[in-house]
Symmetry: C2
Subunit: 434 residues, 2 copies
């Protein structure tokens, strides 16, 4: 790159898949990336741009004029074009769209930009193959030859009536197998899954995954066909959703990547840490309120981190099961049954762990029996209560429309820490009487 | 169902999508499920079986004879058939396969069963559309009409030479657009991504996601075309992988679902809890070894859960970033840079949190300055060290071929708890001199 031999670079990259070039551009320094983008022809660079990491793309787009961006966007499918234009400022969005020569393309992109983020409308592409039910197979083949050139992948051919309302679908295969004088209305499948343009993208993902669909048509409130969503877009939705749950469980307040700046990372990490610190401060006060026990039973204080940690671990386990169950729609049975099940599990786990703890404490640390019983009874109570809280918090969050994955984060751990310590010392006070 | 009116049930279900029937069967009791399966025709039930929850399916298959299972399997694509037969005992596998009338289908299934779990071979289907490079477009169309009937979805047409080695691919669209007297060799794309039959399924998922492929051909070591993998199978791989990471982070030792039995759930939860208990026990000993401080500085002991919790939270955050980075192949830069970055973040987070803690402690709890300094300095040290450990454990695990997601589970939290307490009291001893 340093030698600036343009021809060589062009030749080198012409053989390489755009996804691989995108990876290279994510790695090289910024001037080099701009240089390469400007060097290659727009057919290739438009594909590269869609594959780039969001941060890299943002930097590159800043350095291209509205005209240059319009040239890139012209080559893209409407959904990719709308995604990229959507990342620009409102003012630049207008400039880029008016720089587009093809008015239809510009109108399609504008329409896609008008839908809410996370709706089927924002996810769909306008490119699709559409035929009227009154056409014959032969006529259809002729027209599809025209339409299909604009569509990267023909998954399904959508059949509409004269008002553009969706009435059926068929595959290219069906068309090839059919006799050429048949009417489309006779050979198409009348039952077709479709989603509404305002439907949430996670719901769309669930429907497509459940019915193993590779593309789904999108209709407006009048059942007019307005676009289609393909499985590769859904793949991104599923992955983002999984990443989000994972990051929430790990305690981030926003989407982060390993290569974000220290400042971005700190912004995502610090809020939860401050919450955890606040929780920790409450646990300090709780412990402080039992300080009259410190001279008679110092061992009690040695066990607080253990009890708190067990409460946290058990709570996260219980929450994670519910969060996954909610995500897969696989939660069955009544709340009461679930409660009973958690209590039984808590008892089972609690007894095993308490037995281990009590025997270890009495054997290795020479605990008196009453202290052993206190610690063991506390452990069982704390485990049962942490299980119940861990189970119900995500269910309650989901009912209130909050992402239940929030429960697996430091929130549950911290609350369970505090509650665990409180229960532990209350039981100790009861048994040991200080 | 109770009325046992067979005709009505058949009529009712004939209009319903098999994925929905599968959901119903997962809910109803077991005799009813068997009854419905035996009632419906095998074309429908074979689809239902592939959609059922694994546990429900296992129970149903137990109650069908080898002949009945073979009838179901006959209607399935080879990959689904192999998945279902693979769940049976070795001895029943043989009986079902020999009950299959179609020898080719049986041989294909046997071949698929012979590949390692989690390999491309175990994931692929034998059904695909294959043409020879020497054919003409017209001849190709004729033969595809025959082949395509067996293939649910034609994504790509794979072009092979006379030794069945993969030489190219094209889409149905390419074929329809082409002139009928052209040779296939002239119109097909010679560059085709393929995976080896022994390649790991997660690698296949990464390749397909990166290049936005909807199907990928699978070749053996001699580049002979042996099958193809479609995106819907990859969807399952990605989801399973995400679920696995999530469950590891939450502290399960095996795959669980909310509706598993109490026994299965306990088996998955207890191992990590015992490990955490063992870790907790070490923290008890560490605290016990500093017991001479308990009379002079009892407040120190009130802060142990706070310090331990902060160490755990910070460690999990650091690990989660690395685990995600490793999963997306987005970790760039040297180890040294990453180390520096973590230390800087730790310092930044640590100072903010320590300042909050120190002022709160001195204001509300009336701490003397030296105790405030001790707690604050410990918090900063603990956060930095937990960040470093959280960063490097997953990297080391990945290098040793162990799933790095293990690091986000109770393992890191527990180690950081212990280490945090040790650092805290060591600093306290240094500053306060007890």
């Amino acid at each position: 790159i340093i030698s600036n031999n343009d021809k060589e670079i062009t030749a080198l990259f012409s053989e390489v898949h755009f996804a691989d070039i995108a990876e290279v551009l994510d790695e090289v320094n910024f001037e080099e990336a701009i240089y390469i983008i400007k060097l290659l022809d727009s057919e290739k660079t438009s594909e590269i741009l869609t594959e780039l990491d969001e941060d890299t793309r943002e930097k590159i787009l800043k350095n291209l004029s509205a005209k240059e961006i319009a040239d890139e966007v012209r080559e893209m499918d409407t959904d990719d074009a709308a995604d990229i234009i959507g990342e620009l400022s409102k003012e630049r969005q207008h400039r880029v769209i008016s720089a587009l020569e093809d008015d239809d393309h510009a109108a399609d992109i504008k329409e896609l930009l008008s839908y809410n983020d996370n709706s089927a409308g924002a996810l769909m592409a306008k490119e699709l193959v559409k035929v009227y039910e009154t056409w014959t197979v032969a006529g259809c083949m002729r027209r599809i030859r025209g339409q299909a050139k604009d569509v990267t992948r023909v998954h399904s051919i959508y059949v509409v009536d004269k008002e553009d309302k969706l009435v059926g679908r068929m595959s290219l295969k069906d068309l090839i197998i059919a006799k050429s004088d048949h009417k489309i209305a006779d050979i198409c499948k009348a039952k077709v899954d479709a989603v509404n343009v305002h439907q949430n993208d996670e719901e769309v993902a669930k429907i497509m995954a459940k019915y193993d669909l590779e593309a789904i048509p999108v209709v407006d409130d009048n059942n007019v066909l307005v676009g289609r969503i393909t499985i590769d877009d859904i793949l991104d939705v599923i992955r983002e959703e999984a990443d989000k749950d994972y990051q929430m469980a790990a305690g981030f307040s926003q989407d982060v990547e390993a290569d974000d700046t220290i400042w971005e990372l700190t912004k995502a990490r610090l809020p939860w840490l401050i919450l955890a610190l606040f929780g920790g401060f409450i646990s300090v006060s709780v412990l402080g309120s039992f300080d009259n026990a410190i001279n008679t039973f110092p061992e009690l204080f040695f066990f607080t981190p253990l009890i708190a940690a067990m409460a946290g671990n058990v709570g996260v386990q219980s929450s994670a099961i519910i969060v996954q169950g909610l995500a897969n729609d696989s939660l069955k049975g009544s709340l009461f049954k679930r409660l009973l099940k958690e209590i039984l599990q808590g008892l089972l786990n609690g007894f095993v762990l308490a037995a281990l703890l009590m025997s270890a404490g009495m054997l290795f640390l020479g605990f008196p029996l009453d202290l052993g019983i206190t610690v063991a009874a506390s452990l069982i109570s704390v485990i049962i209560i942490a299980s119940i809280i861990g189970t119900f918090i995500p269910i309650i969050l989901a009912k209130k429309g909050i992402d239940p994955a929030l429960a697996t984060g430091p929130f549950i751990t911290t609350s369970n820490d505090i509650l665990g310590i409180l229960i532990y010392f209350s039981i100790a006070k009861l048994v040991l009487g200080f």
